[in-house]
């Protein structure tokens, strides 16, 4: 791929927690509008990759670029603010703010961080809640919602920042099988609309359907990557084969 037209570019990224090296040289390029799925065994560093991309954790070496932002050069939260505007994130544990209603959760950051007009944000928030089919739950607190509903609010909250990229970190892993579908449907719509997405997921069927590209990670390295048909039907690396053998 031509590197310069990539929206997100990681080059030889390493990251250690103490003496333990979690990422051992990750290189990855994601084009605008592309949907990339990251699969791999638990503990292989998938979440860490996402957290490095939006600067939640600093890296030890290598470089990360998102649009014009050089993430590895940013030191303070203040410098990262434009990056956080451009890159949203959805978490496995939803992490909604429990003391605020669904609507307030969606509206908070655009009003308080981006300084957008409250009335305009409210209209946007209601539109987004409708998009994830939760209009009638606007005034419910997170504690009153099911896991799947909370996760869809979290997706609406991420979208309300009007990001260019959304990072999804195993967003269905904490959900009941019945509610997984409603969340995946919401994500699929975003991918179809052409939003750039990086998804860490264990839903192999979903990955095959929505991803433009699948990356398999193991022990802090991207072992293999390619179109879903290639990864799932003709994996090259023995580790990929072993992993897929276990989960499929």
């Amino acid at each position: 791929m031509n590197r310069t037209d990539a929206l997100i570019e990681l080059d030889q990224v390493t990251k250690s927690f103490g003496a333990f090296q979690v990422l051992k040289g990750i290189s990855l390029a994601v084009k605008d509008g592309e949907a990339v799925c990251i699969i791999g065994p638990s503990g292989s560093g998938k979440s860490t990759i996402l957290r490095c991309i939006n600067g939640l954790i600093p890296i030890n070496s290598g470089s990360i670029r998102v649009g014009t932002h050089e993430v590895h050069k940013m030191k303070t939260e203040k410098e990262m603010r434009p990056l956080r505007h451009q890159v949203s994130m959805v978490f496995q544990q939803y992490n909604l703010f429990p003391h605020r209603t669904a609507l307030q959760n969606v509206m908070m950051a655009p009003v308080q961080v981006l300084g957008h007009d409250r009335r305009e944000v409210e209209a946007r928030a209601r539109r987004l809640l409708a998009k994830v089919r939760l209009s009638e739950k606007a005034d419910a607190y997170p504690g009153q919602l099911s896991g799947g509903q909370q996760q869809r609010v979290a997706i609406a909250r991420a979208l309300a920042m009007e990001p260019q990229v959304i990072l999804f970190d195993e967003v269905t892993a904490a959900l009941d099988p019945e509610t997984v579908k409603e969340v995946l449907t919401a994500i699929r719509e975003l991918v179809d609309e052409g939003l750039t997405c990086i998804l860490v997921t264990h839903e192999m069927k979903f990955a095959r359907e929505v991803a433009d590209r699948v990356c398999f990670t193991d022990h802090g390295r991207i072992v293999e990557s390619g179109p879903p048909a290639q990864i799932f039907d003709a994996p090259q690396d023995p580790r990929t084969r072993e992993f897929l053998g276990q989960v499929l």
């Binding site: 939640l56 994130m89 703010f97 429990p98 950051a109």
Partner: protein
């Protein structure tokens, strides 16, 4: 659920038993001349409560304990807030001394701190050539506020750190700055967990105001001792029971309310 029901049932039976035993004892005792003792207490009750034979104006007694506890709590809230956030600071140079101070104050006996204040704080200070006398009451306030502040700070730290780290992460991912994260996301949640702890602490502080008699202020204990010097030995026990009951009646509802709030906060996040 069944287990909880039987536990609550047992507890209620025990409470009822204690109450009945108390009533029975008082009734039995009254037949043996106890009524006279209670009559003495009744006659002195205004002094015990207000430090004043006619009950007004408030010049001491139990009212002074209440006032003392409120002053000490206010001071502890100020000191404790500073100390608590000091312990949460990123900077080691701030955090480590705050931890040291907190641990020192929290692990000192309250009575020792009171005595220390009595001797460390001078009777007079000279400010711009004017000599200002420091009343015993101020020393009692400071002496009680110090350990309370340390506990107050620990409650803040505990509540803030009990907020799931995912809240920080989500807020940072949305572009919030650290101060805004505290103000808009962490503290509003943590406050609900602090308030019951603070209420329990206040109840403890109220009980500890009885120690302040060592500073010589005319609180309910000092008043009691003065009164008892003039009383018949046989009625002393009735006075002490009354003093006990005053503290209990003030503190127990607070503790109950705190417990109820704790339970309503439980499980409200995540």
């Amino acid at each position: 659920m069944a287990l909880i029901a039987t536990y609550a049932g047992k507890k209620r039976t025990v409470q009822l038993g204690i109450a009945l035993a108390l009533v029975a004892w008082v009734a039995l005792d009254a037949t043996g001349g106890g009524g006279e003792g209670w009559a003495r207490v009744w006659a002195r009750l205004p002094i015990l409560l207000t430090g004043n034979g006619s009950g007004w104006p408030l010049s001491g007694g139990f009212a002074l304990n209440v006032f003392l506890s409120l002053c000490a709590m206010a001071m502890a809230a100020l000191l404790g807030t500073a100390l608590g956030f000091g312990m949460l600071a990123k900077n080691r140079l701030v955090r480590v001394p705050c931890f040291f101070v907190m641990n020192f104050l929290r692990n000192s006996p309250w009575l020792v701190l009171l005595f220390a204040m009595l001797y460390i704080i001078p009777f007079n200070v000279r400010l711009f050539g004017v000599s200002i006398a420091i009343p015993a009451f101020a020393k009692a306030v400071i002496g009680l506020a110090l350990p309370t502040a340390a506990n107050f700070a620990e409650i803040i730290r505990g509540a803030v750190q009990s907020i799931h780290s995912g809240q920080w992460e989500a807020a940072r991912a949305l572009g919030y700055m650290p101060m805004a994260i505290y103000g808009r996301i962490i503290l509003p949640q943590a406050l609900r967990r602090m308030i019951p702890g603070w209420m329990n602490l206040y109840a403890l502080l109220m009980i500890a105001t009885s120690l302040a008699t060592v500073t010589g202020i005319q609180d309910v204990i000092t008043t009691l001792n003065t009164l008892l010097a003039m009383e018949n030995e046989r009625v002393i026990v009735y006075f002490y029971i009354t003093a006990l009951f005053l503290f209990f009646a003030f503190c127990y509802p607070l503790a109950l309310l705190a417990r109820r709030m704790e339970q309503s906060v439980k499980g409200d996040s995540l």
